[in-house]
């Protein structure tokens, strides 16, 4: 019954795709993302960043009430992530400390990407690419070229039948691949036994509720005073997504964080009151595809971090002004 329902939904949406044709790609993407979230599938994808490759098994189950996603790392440190609607649980092997700092607060992977493309469509030129076979499925390619050099682009390969995203590549301004995930095998529209959705490894668990966290952040953001900081320049389409203040455990210094995003790419700006015994970034640095730029403004260490090109974080940093007492 579930299969029939999914098939009907998928067919109706595919008809919708045809009707809108190429000039309505953004609306179509949102719809396709929704279809992909309704699928049951079990597959293995590889994630490559730099010279490191990681294999991950993903099991995705959905019905009218619940969406469950289980990810299992297949090489390196054993680790599992299970997401049940908004509840996310991370399981680490016995004896290994829970890394609370490494929280996978995604909104679903990789099914969520297509939905989010809709929001960011104004800042990426979308075009259809070649058809290709990925994980033994025929795919059509979507190329997302950013409108400027302040953000990275994407090449996506989507299964023609199910509309599941099977391969995604993050590319820089000259077209080099920075990160890639690609399914090597995947079975769709299958029955998923309940035991497949439960963690196999015994160990430390950490669970949190994404929805509650988002609401809490929103409340905090609404209750905050006007920030004394002004960002004179941001890449087109980057808007304030959230902001918060907290005291860092290391030295107790208050830190304000602001997150700006165009829907796909994002940066965080950190303002930290200077105290003695601080080591801090001056100028550029990077870690993988993440770039950072640090400077000092009005007795604060200001650091910009994001998965954007180096010049973006630097340009944002140099545009920041301290406007205490004024409104932005």
């Amino acid at each position: 019954m579930k299969f029939v329902w999914q098939t009907i939904l998928a067919c109706s949406l595919l008809v919708n795709v045809t009707a809108h044709a190429e000039n309505d790609v953004d609306k179509t993407l949102e719809t396709l993302g929704l279809v992909a979230k309704q699928l049951n599938y079990d597959g293995i994808f590889s994630f490559q960043a730099g010279n490191k490759v990681q294999s991950i098994r993903i099991i995705h189950y959905a019905d009218r009430q619940v969406e469950i996603e289980r990810l299992i790392s297949l090489n390196g440190v054993t680790r599992e992530v299970i997401r049940t609607n908004d509840m996310v649980t991370c399981v680490y092997p016995e004896g290994k400390p829970v890394q609370e700092n490494h929280r996978p607060l995604g909104r679903g992977f990789p099914t969520d990407l297509l939905r989010r493309l809709h929001a960011a469509s104004d800042y990426y030129h979308m075009s259809e690419g070649l058809e290709e076979r990925v994980a033994n499925h025929h795919t059509h390619e979507l190329v997302l070229q950013p409108i400027d050099n302040y953000r990275y682009g994407y090449i996506l390969k989507v299964d023609k039948d199910s509309q599941l995203l099977l391969q995604a590549t993050l590319i820089n301004e000259v077209g080099d691949a920075l990160e890639t995930f690609a399914f090597s095998s995947v079975e769709m529209n299958i029955d998923i036994p309940k035991q497949l959705l439960e963690a196999e490894i015994q160990g430390n668990e950490m669970t949190w509720n994404r929805k509650e966290q988002m609401e809490r952040r929103h409340t905090i953001a609404m209750g905050q005073k006007t920030s004394p900081w002004k960002l004179v320049w941001l890449p087109e389409g980057f808007e304030l997504v959230t902001q918060k203040s907290r005291f860092k455990a290391m030295n107790g210094a208050p830190v304000e964080q602001r997150v700006y995003s165009d829907g796909l790419s994002s940066i965080s700006v950190f303002f930290e009151k200077i105290r003695a015994q601080h080591g801090h970034l001056h100028g550029r640095s990077f870690k993988g595809i993440v770039n950072a730029f640090g400077t000092i403004i009005n007795n604060h260490f200001v650091t910009i971090v994001g998965e954007v090109p180096a010049m973006t974080v630097e340009k944002v940093a140099t545009s920041i002004q301290y406007i205490d007492g004024e409104n932005q």
Partner: protein, 188 residues
Amino acid sequence: MTANHNELLSALVDGELQGKELELALNLIHTNDDARSQWQRFQRTSDIMHGHSLSLDNIDLTTLLSQRLSQEPIYSSASDDKTAKIFTFTKPIWKQAASLAVAASIGALAVVGVMNKPENQLIPITTQVAAVETTAAPIITAQNSKRWTVSEQDVEHRLDTYLVDHNEYTGASGVFSYARVVSYDEGQ
């Protein structure tokens, strides 16, 4: 740099400044390169004294050794020393050792240098390493760096903390955030 400046920077490291003095000191390290270097030296010294860290990355022993070696007198087979037997390395070994020392020091410089302009500096450094014909380890690139390109451990830690906070919020917009977390290992 004056003695007063040194005192001011020292007091800054010790956390003894407040108000205008603090502003003055911060202004100084922000606008004066010498002052910033001195401030970093004071911090390093303070860290070591307090047992917080001993960043070996900043101690370029290889360069010093290389310089000292080049100043040593050259012993040859013609040397007429009857009282002591001196073991001499063959010329290729000296050349290789010196090259490795230079390469290692360049590697150290690369790590330190990328603090300010990592991308711009990595390319010429690679060229220099190649020029001395060594087998130095691959230079970090933006694509395969698993650690921040900074030399100070506390700066790296701070950036890691920022990155975690960033990921926490951008799970909604970071396409690969799930995969990054699941593929996270101890090295990250």
